[in-house]
Amino acid sequence: MNKYWQIFKINFKENLQSYVNTILSIVSFCIIIYIFVNLWGYIYTNGTPVINGYTYANMLWYLISAEIICYCSSGRYVVRGINNDVKTGKVAYTLNKPYNYYIYAVVSDMGEIIFKYIFIILAGLLMGLVFVGLPTFSLVMVLPIIFAFFLSSLMSSLLFAIVGLLAFWIEDATPFYWLVSKFFLILGIIFPPEFFPSWVQPIIIYSPVYSIYSGTSKLVANFSWELYANVTISQIVYIIIFALLGLWVLSKAVKKVNINGG
């Protein structure tokens, strides 16, 4: 366990060196939120004050939360990392190290995710306070919400590492990354489940989209302990499923490796 903790720390510290990237991530995050402020500001000004149960403030806090999770744990880095390892042949060196490659990829990704959270959450809070004021939850709920964010990211990382492992079969898993991430973007990030037709809503609620994005973001927009329990249980169940699936996929993937020397 200690070796994975060390891998986590190394990746966390590595990010301290690339402060330009961090600043630009914050700028880019603020730009996206600003677009949503304009878009939903226009929609609420020209429509009704409550849309599908969401006021403008609820909607903006939902979007800010979903974008925080998306920005910090987009899965891009874990997929790209595994892709590069496979393409460059570096995987030959990493597979024979005394750690599990799948867990290594997830822990490395988490090191980067936790680092980003520190800055992006602050930027998100600031944007929310400037444009719509404080969210409705009390201080007691802050820690549970942060824990829900952590579980969301762990779940996302475990899932995208599985997507990355597809590179062992098709050389480049990026197209699958696009598809999964766009699926998440449309069904979980830019709209709460209530905005979809009634027959789509149950599909979203029982899917990973809800546990990673919709459920966690709804906690910030409109917190309730019942919702919190539902979201946490679904996150834990999915984390166990993805972890087991990832380890199984890796055991199959290593059999596809051809090492040609060099």
């Binding site: 630009l24 880019s28 878009l39 226009y42 050389e171 480049d172 197209p175």
Partner: protein, 262 residues
């Protein structure tokens, strides 16, 4: 004569790059199909938004899809023909420019054509699909190609300008890709939802409005001023890109990396 030779060279490079990537057949096809699916996901986003409000400042579903078609087409052409410019900061940072400097063709053209992003074909195809969905008129089809060529020129030139920062600062890539991302994100929204301060930025230093919104205006409400502005912007940004790149080139100091380019 030189222009003719350069155009020939651009197409020869393109054919060579496509042949190179077509060796990985599954990856090649997946990249194209998944990019079409990736772009198509946004149809759901706009469908939901327009089920809440009928239009965004005069822009309905068809008009927004037209902006998407133009932006995707321009972005696709840029990454198909000149994907190499997106590697400029890395080429400079790693001292790989030497190998291009020794070749007899125009340096910037040579770098730009050195690689092709196959998924860009998916973007271009999506552009056509979007035109079919909105039932574009014959005249729209007729002027579509010249418009996306100009868009591609603006996208490429803007990236070169910001990527040339890599001659002066270490992490020029982060700034250039951040501007590029912002251009694409803002570029797919109708400018009618933004306030005038942000519009000034989107018509100048981050020309997101110029790559999709302005050409859509040319199609929807033709005015000679918009056309002149659009073409003029493409010409000036290209000249500026060559100027900034050549100015930065004087700062370049060779690395010791050994590389062969066939």
């Amino acid at each position: 004569m030189e222009v003719k030779n350069n155009i020939k060279l651009i197409f020869k490079y393109l054919i060579l790059n496509i042949k190179k990537q077509a060796q990985y057949k599954i990856s090649f096809i997946l990249n194209i199909i998944m990019m079409i699916a990736n772009d198509a996901f946004f149809i759901i986003q706009w469908h939901i938004i327009f089920s809440i409000v009928p239009s965004l400042g005069g822009y309905g579903f068809n008009e927004v899809l037209l902006i998407w078609s133009l932006t995707a087409g321009g972005f696709g052409l840029s990454h198909l023909f000149f994907n190499g410019v997106y590697n400029i900061p890395d080429i400079i940072y790693r001292g790989k420019l030497d190998v291009y400097l020794t070749q007899p063709k125009n340096l910037l053209l040579n770098i730009g054509c050195s690689s092709t992003d196959i998924s860009a074909i998916g973007d271009i195809i999506y552009g056509f699909i979007a035109l079919i969905i909105i039932g574009a008129k014959f005249t729209t089809w007729l002027i579509y190609f010249p418009l996306i060529i100009c868009s591609a020129v603006i996208i490429t030139a803007t990236h070169i300008i910001y990527a040339s920062l890599a001659f002066y600062i270490k992490r020029g890539d982060a700034i250039a890709s951040s501007i590029n991302r912002s251009m694409i994100t803002f570029g797919t929204y109708p400018m009618t939802i933004f306030n005038s301060t942000i519009k000034i930025i989107l018509y100048s230093i981050v020309p997101a409005a110029v790559i999709g919104f302005i050409p859509s205006q040319i199609i929807l409400n033709f005015s000679i001023y918009n056309l002149l502005f659009f073409v003029g912007f493409a010409i000036i940004s290209t000249l500026l890109a060559f100027f900034v790149f050549n100015k930065g080139l004087k700062k370049y100091s060779s690395g010791s990396v050994m590389e062969v380019r066939l």
